[in-house]
Amino acid sequence: MIDSIPALMVVLPLMAGVITVFTGKGDKPWAWATAITGIVFAMSIALLAEVTAHGPVTYNFGNWPSQYGIAYTIDAMNGFVLFVVSLIAAVTTYYSRLSVKDEIPNDRLHIFYALWLLTICGLLGITITGDTFNVYVLLEISSLTLYALIAMGYRRDRRALTASLRYVILGSVGASFLLLGIGYLMMITGTLNMVDMHDRLQVLIHNDEYSRTIMVAYAFLLVGLSLKLALFPLHMWLPNAYTYAPSAVTGLVAATATKVAVYMTIRFLFGIFGRDFSFGAVESSDVLLTCAGLGVLYTGIQAARQNNVKSVLAWSSLGQIGYIVIGFSLNNENGLTGSVVHILNHALIKGGMFLALGCVAYRLGGTRLTHLKGLGRKMPWTMAAFTAGGLGLIGFPLTGGFIGKWYIGLGALDAGNWLILVVIMLGSLLAVIYVFRVVYAIYFGEAEPDSVHATEAPASMVVCTWILIGMSLVCGLWSEWSVDLAANAAKAMLAGFGGAH
């Protein structure tokens, strides 16, 4: 049973996504999607437990040997990311009922949830698969459905359309670069399987053969992945897409899409090319650290200038991605551990905060700073969640956000890079500014006439928000388990291909 879970985790939402179209009207599509994501979440826990206890799990489609067929392999690294993605998926799906009803026309709900499940399917698939071309296909499944989901926000604000189109163009260019890079690698290795590709590449690199082709493949992949994970300065698609998407979609996407892209990057850099190539022969460390470092500062300043709180958080996501990139670019165990644990913590924090904004949008119809003024008294629970999440963004000690930064900071000093440590701290300082600006408005601002009669959001929404925020607090206080999982993942990735042999 446990052996077929990797396949089921992709096939189930894929099939279910198609079936959703026929589930009918009202709450039925939502109930169906909730059930599916719940099952998927349960599966991910089972898988993570299995992987932690007994090592990698592999599923070969059609029982073909992995060199010929498609193999799905779960190790400590993607087991962890799977857990994060399916957790967020389950919570946001349950959350979405009222929010989506409010923002999407009722005759489109079944379409919405079909796309929703397919997005989740794609994100899970990218994480699970051990086949590089499969990565591309599943990436496109998740992206295509995501473009449509984001565009669905146009009924509230037509800028969702232009944001979505920009995402379509840049996202597709990124994916095409990925496809090109995979093509070059296939040319010289003759395989698509990640483990196989890794082994053959190491031989080629060692013998100094095809070094120019490998370099070109590496360049295309790195640029394509950077576009997908929105690394500064390739981030232009992200802020508006997050801002104008329907609230529930933003919650799902912000917490998972870029995280999965980060996972892919780590997988390609460490798992396929190997750290000796990525950070030895090519020295991409300097490039990545420079981009990420500048990105942390630039996006922090931008976040402090936004008037729509969703924009603030979207820009802040870019900065947090910068931290994650800094972590793995340091190419040591502490840094990579920090990156991986920050994938979890940031997903929880940012997911929770976007859900909190979803509650605000549900009650007030918008998320501008003026909407949030004085809401501290009217929506105490939602705003408390937002504030707790904000502390996490800053990286306040005792919140989840601190743990990742702590390990990334240790990694920076292990690498002897004091400058990047200072950049991380300056980034936290900018986070203080943009979070504090909003929190100040919430608790000390005078409510606008529009929001005088606002009341606390419905219980189901508040509870979901608090599940994510609460987990982020738990991860900040009792962090040993998440750090252990992340450290395992980091060790696996540093050892080359995550112990899949």
Binding site: V137, L144, Y147, D157, I169, S172
Partner: protein
């Protein structure tokens, strides 16, 4: 081997790269969003050509391989024998079938969005759209009346 020869030997790659670059140029330089979407398709077509090129397998004496189709007059044993005919690699073709489907879907989604943009903004020129967005629409609180003023479909 001089440069001309090298270039002409790899003409298929040249074509792939040129098509790709025309597409990429269009994506970056064109200010009409329909043209951008079409250029994107062109870019991806270039990638397909590159993949298809790599499927070609040469026989030891320099001839190209055959299409991997089993001819009835040949025995199965012949296919597997070392001395038998050389087939082209079918895998890239199969991959590109998938990629073409993806590419078409992207174009479809992009065009669907563009149709809606035309409906909401009245134009498909990026500069004009940016102008409309920059003209302070949705200024002030995000209320229903303001949204109507800003032209969103409420």
């Amino acid at each position: 081997m001089n440069f001309i020869e090298a270039a002409s030997d790899h003409y298929n790659y040249w074509i792939a790269v040129i098509v790709m670059m025309i597409g990429l140029y269009g994506v970056i330089a064109k200010r009409n969003i329909v043209k951008q979407a079409i250029s994107l398709g062109l870019f991806q077509t270039g990638i397909f050509l590159l993949y298809i090129s790599m499927a070609v397998v040469f026989t030891p004496d320099g001839k190209m391989g055959e299409a991997p189709v089993k001819h009835s007059e040949r025995l199965a044993a012949d296919v597997l024998s070392v001395a038998g005919p050389v087939y082209d690699n079918p895998l890239p073709h199969v991959l590109m079938l998938t990629a073409i489907v993806v590419s078409v879907s992207i174009l479809a989604v992009a065009l669907a969005i563009i149709v809606n943009i035309k409906r909401c903004y009245g134009t498909v020129e990026e500069d004009e759209i940016l102008d409309i967005e920059a003209q302070g629409l949705l200024d002030g609180p995000d209320t229903k009346s303001n949204r109507e003023k800003a032209g969103a479909l409420v």
